[in-house]
């Protein structure tokens, strides 16, 4: 795959980064071209970050950086030096699923599951901003994520269930 002018691995520039992933500090030396999605999988062990299209379309790699939802394939790890990153692994506490994850489980909001962590992260961001979204608001917000199995209805049902559950529990997503 490498073109003639591609420098060898040993000649390529690297940068040191230190960031916080799901509450844990992490330092690494990375090539600037290393995508945040690959960094999270390879250096942080966050295999819940799915690498789908790798060019910003599918939403499977969606994570939160400093509180903002981003497609981690369109950021480079070098850009997140000093940042707080949260992935789907950061949702469950003490081995118990997060209410949003429970809702996805109960509503059968997945089949193959490849897209699910992206949808769960998007749902978490949506319900943080808007605890009681309308169907239209759900559609608009989740338009950044693609599911090729379920047809979305069960996903919307899961978002509604999660919103109700969080309201009953009186907790922030």
């Amino acid at each position: 795959m490498s073109a003639d002018n591609t420098p060898g691995v040993e000649e390529r520039p690297t940068r040191d980064v230190t960031l916080t992933v799901n509450g844990e500090d992490l330092s690494a030396s990375v090539e600037p071209r290393l995508k945040l999605s690959d960094f999270l999988r390879q250096h942080a062990g966050c295999r819940g970050v799915r690498v789908g299209c790798e060019h910003g379309v599918c939403g499977a790699c969606t994570v939160s950086v400093d509180g903002d939802l981003v497609k981690s394939c369109l950021m480079y790890a070098v850009q997140t030096d000093g940042s707080q990153v949260r992935t789907v692994e950061g949702l469950a506490e003490d081995g118990s699923l997060h209410p949003i994850q429970e809702a996805f489980h109960e509503e059968h909001a997945l089949q193959c599951g490849f897209c699910t962590s992206g949808f769960v992260m998007s749902t978490q961001a949506l319900l943080s901003e808007n605890p009681d979204p309308s169907h239209e608001e759900m559609e608009d917000h989740l338009s950044s994520n693609i599911c090729r199995c379920t047809g979305y209805q069960n996903i919307y049902d899961a978002v509604e269930r999660a919103a109700d559950r969080l309201e009953d529990l009186d907790v922030d997503p």
């Binding site: 071209r33 910003g56 939403g59 950021m75 338009s143």
Partner: protein, 295 residues
Amino acid sequence: MKPAPFEYHRPETVAEATDLLAEFDGAELMAGNQSLGIVMANRLATPDHIVDINGIDEIQYVDADGEAVEVGALVRHRDLAASDALAETLPMLPEAADQIAGPVVRNRGTLGGSIGEADPAGNYPCVLVTLGGELELASASGRRTVDAADFFVAYMVTAIDEGELVTNVRFPTAPYPPERTGMAFLEQKPAAQTWPTLSAAAAVRVDDPGAADPVVERARVGLANAADVPLRVPDAESEVEGEPVSGGALDAAGEVAYDAVDPQPELHADETYKRELAREYTKRALRTAYERATT
């Protein structure tokens, strides 16, 4: 789907950024990376140097207090969409920002990135050309101002030189007093994440919003993805100026737009369909802007 290797630079001022552009031939600016990242992932761009401008605070501002609305190039779609000051003074801009892609893209994508990309389907280029905006460009040798009408040259080609970056844009506010101006930005697109097939922007100023039939003093109409550059349609504007907006005037403006555009056929939108969209969306945008001006 992995980009080619590059060296990474993260300036904190415009001056540092322009020095880097001058030093490294062919360096690419990176802002929100929602378009460049795709191009690099597909190895359609393989820059040796990336100048990441996300740390430049001096181009992240909205100033709507003066005689012009001025917006820094690094303001993100999300923040434009949520700006109360812009909703009051220049509502076309937040309405356009809020319709770009999906919310995750809007968290990162920027005004300047969209302008620099200069896709004729882009929302901000259309807003700039429609409202008569101007752009400020900086390079290591100084700054200059370019009218939006002169900036967009051809499909994804602009008047920007190597070594320059867009620092901010300005819109005149005197022609658009909020109390008697209405604006609209309407997109036709098949799915949230895609580019619009066509968009129409309109601004309408009336003489007296309280009158029974307010007269249009000034109209502006622009179309996106209707030619190889964002297209203002002055002849459609004059069809509705000088009288209250009527069905007949809107029809006439729509016919002008149908003839004025020069659209590229696409897989699911041939040239005739896009002409028909131009006609219909010109009418809808003008009607909506007029309604907003008069209520």
